[in-house]
Symmetry: C2
Subunit: 182 residues, 2 copies
DNA sequence: ACCTGAACACCGTTCAAGT
DNA sequence: ACCTGAACACCGTTCAAGT
């Protein structure tokens, strides 16, 4: 029979995210995560494959927490909402967020976000290949900005300046989408 | 007196870059770098402060190797040249390049690249604040794309598709710059 | 079935010692 | 001045053992 599990994947990811948010990605060690759960490091291996799998889970967690825009918004509003939610998620988890740019965007949660954007672009009249291309450029620009911001590449810049940068970026992306419709 | 140094910062960075290119960033350990130079790990500490300093040196090395565009080119040509050189550097050092997005852009080599772009934008008639903003958005988009590409976020996409994506991105950035001149 | 304890091969870094 | 050897506190991961 065996006793009921004391820990599970969800609790492990909760603990890992809390440690990452508080003390940085380097502080997320198997030992530290286990300690926070009152268990030995080796106990984690029944619930995650290895450390890489744990970090993948963290990325997936961030993507899952990203609210998708309501479909009754206009295209522009939907794209702006996704972009702003991305930036807010980055601000909420600055130590984990940079990993988003470094993993293949083909996990379930990543696909959900991507498909929402591609669908919005399709509804607006772009053909499939163009919609897919715009989505790649859109996500690249927004992720690049959000990562730059939280990873400190824009250190020494006021919040107001970066907010204006972001608005300008959204406007430029809007124009890119518009001109792709021709 | 003491004997002449067997190693120096340059040789250490050469070795570290070679290891990173061949086997990934995780393979760049103090022990591995030292071994490649025929010394013990502890010998490195006379020439680099610590491991973080070594990685910073690697980033600086990449930026230093980036050719700056000849000033006789037009604005568009200069910006496209910087962007293409960035992408080529990423392709040449795919394991180290992602670090570029994660460090403050205020080292000497980073400033040289930035100033070249800001100067080009200034010559084209943008005021200082606007030129600085355009440079941030430009570098963010190009770095974001190059990092996405080498870190595997665009895995499963043909080279031809990504080349076309990049051309499209350059065109969108060109339009952003043009409209900023008003 | 789930977790522990002991162990292994590493890691970055320190310090005192050698030449 | 420069490098080594020994050591420390960690790290991810394995395996056999406990309940």
């Amino acid at each position: 029979m065996g006793r009921p599990a004391q820990i599970n994947r969800t609790r492990i990811l909760d603990a890992a995210l809390a440690i990452a948010d508080a003390d940085g990605l380097d502080a997320v060690t198997m030992h530290a995560v286990a300690k926070r759960l009152g268990v030995t490091a080796m106990a984690l291996y029944r619930h995650v494959e290895d450390k890489k799998d744990l970090l993948d889970g963290l990325v997936e967690r961030l993507l899952t927490s990203l609210p998708l825009p309501p479909p009754d918004l206009t295209l522009d509003e939907r794209l702006a909402a996704v972009a702003r939610n991305m930036r807010a998620t980055a601000a909420g988890h600055p130590n984990v967020f940079p990993l988003l740019l470094q993993r293949p965007a083909d996990t379930p949660a990543a696909l959900a976000v991507r498909d929402a954007v591609v669908a919005a672009l399709g509804e607006a009249g772009l053909d499939g290949a163009t919609a897919a291309r715009m989505e790649r450029l859109l996500s690249t620009a927004v992720l690049g900005f959000a990562v730059s911001e939280v990873a400190g590449r824009f250190a020494h810049h006021d919040r107001a300046v970066l907010d204006a940068d972001f608005d300008y970026l959204l406007e430029a992306l809007r124009r890119m989408i518009d001109s792709a419709g021709d």
